[in-house]
């Protein structure tokens, strides 16, 4: 579904993403982990096409990631929810539905805003919403088109416990529907039981790309070890 080959992204002379390669198959739920400044957000933004790659290739369902065909196959939920101040919650979903040509949009949108407790806020302007509410709207906008690939950058920051649980449930449902999800997060316990595989980035490089079981086996730990322990182990400075 997603194939990243030898991707490099530089900001002037700083190499933010350094020759990374990975691929996601249909139905994969993959966690993109790493300390601050590891290059996770840059990687996702480059896949989305917000940033220009310096080298390498990114294909989504065999199309170049910036092509219109590829863009129909994915949605993106950014780290900071930036919405249109003067559009209401409902109008945001309407706008996304028009942009992605979503069929039966009203029904799907209603279901989503109910799941995220936004029903009473649906006629509120985005500028009147709290940061957490905006994040919920942003997630709903990402979920509405029901694409094959979902790219989430820190989706749970600012969410209340119920919404975090709802998001986790949605991830599970997406997995059951054979959708592909790449999720970058620091809330390791929230994705621990959801991800089939984790990619750990450090200083722009992928230092770990394996399943949870492989990781545990490699580190020689028992079943009781958490994702947090594994993360701290692999990212600790030599």
């Amino acid at each position: 579904m997603l194939k990243v080959e030898s991707l490099t992204k530089k900001y002037r002379n700083v190499v933010a993403v350094d020759d990374i390669s990975f691929s996601l198959n249909q139905g994969d739920i993959v966690g993109l982990l790493g300390p601050n400044g590891a290059g996770k957000s840059t990687t996702i933004k480059t896949i989305v096409g917000l940033l220009r790659k310096n080298a390498g290739s990114i294909t989504i369902g065999s199309y170049p990631s910036t092509s219109q065909e590829a863009k129909k196959k994915f949605t993106y939920v950014p780290e900071t929810p930036e919405l249109y101040d003067m559009l209401t919650v409902w109008e945001h979903l309407q706008f996304i539905a028009y942009a992605y040509d979503v069929a039966n949009f009203a029904e799907k949108a209603e279901r989503l805003i109910e799941r995220y407790d936004l029903w009473d806020k649906k006629d509120k302007l985005a500028k009147e919403l709290s940061k957490g509410m905006k994040q919920k709207v942003s997630i709903c906008c990402g979920l509405l088109p029901e694409p094959d690939l979902y790219l989430f950058d820190e989706p749970m920051i600012g969410l209340d416990p119920k919404s975090i649980r709802e998001t986790k449930l949605i991830f599970k449902e997406l997995s059951e529907q054979q959708k592909t999800v790449l999720v970058s997060t620091h809330l390791l316990d929230s994705i621990e039981n959801l991800c089939d595989r984790v990619l750990v980035m450090k200083q722009g490089r992928i230092i770990v790309d394996m399943t949870m079981e492989e990781m545990k086996r490699k580190l020689g730990n028992s079943g009781s070890v958490s994702l947090e322990d594994l993360f701290l182990e692999v990212t600790k400075d030599e």
């Binding site: 993106y76 559009l87 706008f95 302007l125 500028k127």
Partner: protein, 531 residues
Amino acid sequence: MNEFKLLAKRDGRIIVNHFKEIRSNPKRLGIYLLYLVWIGSLVFNVVLRYRNPVEIQAQLGSQIIGAGFVGVGTAFLLYFLYRGTLESSTFFTMGDVHLLFPAPVSPQKVLLYSMVKQSLLHIFLYGFLILALMPLIMNTSRIDLQYLPFMYLGFIGLFLVIAPLNFLVFALGSKYGLQLRLQQGIFALIVIFILYLAGFIIAAGDLWQGLLQGLNASWLDYLPVIGWSKVVFMTAVTGYSIYSIAGLVLQLLFLVCCIVISYYTADDYYEDTLKATEQRALRKKQKAGVEKAQRFSFPFSKKKLFVRKVGSGPWALFWRSKVEYSRSDFHPYLGFWTIMFLLAGIGVGVFAGKQTDGLTPLYIVNGVIAYIIFIFSASNAAQHELTKPYIFLIPGSNLVKIIGSNLTDILRMFANILALNIPLGILLNAPLQIIMILVIFDVSFYILNLSSNFLIRIIFPNALDQKALYPLFLMLQMLLLLLPGIIVGGVLAFVFQNLVLIFAGIAAVNIIIIGVLLLLSNKVFARLEWI
């Protein structure tokens, strides 16, 4: 859905929501009415000037306007062309970046729609600017009102091409690696322009005469953008000719060409516009008082810094601002503006010293500076301090918190005013006590506004309301804060006919008002909320 239809629908909803918001919050209508009053006063001024035309040599007036247009316009154009080699202009919001850019819509169509939309918006917005400039133009020359639309179109014609041209320069520069070449070309144009003017000044043997001749040379009318706009703009001053229409058509064609070339070359521009879009969003927040406005300072970034402790409790706020200034400038109290004020003091002193023997220039400069300081300090650092929680959380006296958060700004302003007045005073042979009275006079206007900011925050806690009601605040501040000083100054002027006493009187009244405001702020501090 078709991209243009999608974007038009979105903008249609945004416009409808603006109207709905006004309906649900009629307070905003008051603000728009204030703007209407302002526009009305501009129109009234224009009518007044038209009915009472100034007696000015017709040719000289038109030369001044033509030279002003070409001089300022060329400087603007070259500046934005140069900026285009460093960063792109933007037509987008952060909402576009996160919702529209990742969507399956054509980036080229999004760009085309956004460029045209911004151009249409600017046609309307720059109209206010020309309206505001009209009294100045009519003070300089007679204009034919029937050709006012030409003046308007010539003026906006210049501004409309700037953003697409800037975008195009950046797009071409980054796409074909031409940034350096473009920069060299722009520098060459600047050098040619300066040499061209220098030639005229030397030939005329007089600065102003040379500038007037150089900037009004007829061949300039054939230059793209600046020349064509000038021909259209000057129609109302010099009269209509076939060139007026030709200039208008050429300018329009140029704009269309810029947009069309941008459309065909910019297929991968999202990253290019990110920085400018983020900065635009930041400026919006700064205007609303949510983010701190960036000060103009030297681009230093001292990593290692030691700033001595200045006290505990609320004095930590004073220490914090000292650290910030130390990092961005070469000294916590001295900076870029100190040098500018010093240069201005020396420049005016040398120039005025040759023209007059009295102290009148010293009084005029300080009067103007006090007015500018008052206007520009109406929303200041203290506003920003209130958007952070520390001023509320740090234990200590409220009065010290207010003083602590403003002290560095006040000391810096004090240093700037000293830098202006000491060389100016020395060059004009002014006694030291007069210089000190004028320094206190200027700084008192600065503190006056800083001390009133806390009260404004109590009356209108919402940052957006504060932004929207800014003109109203300015009027209120002018009335309530300036009036007492002006009355006392007027009385002193009438009784003693002594300029120094007027300045001293106004400064004394200002200091009394500052004291009252500080005591009031101290009282109301407990009612402040951190939003």
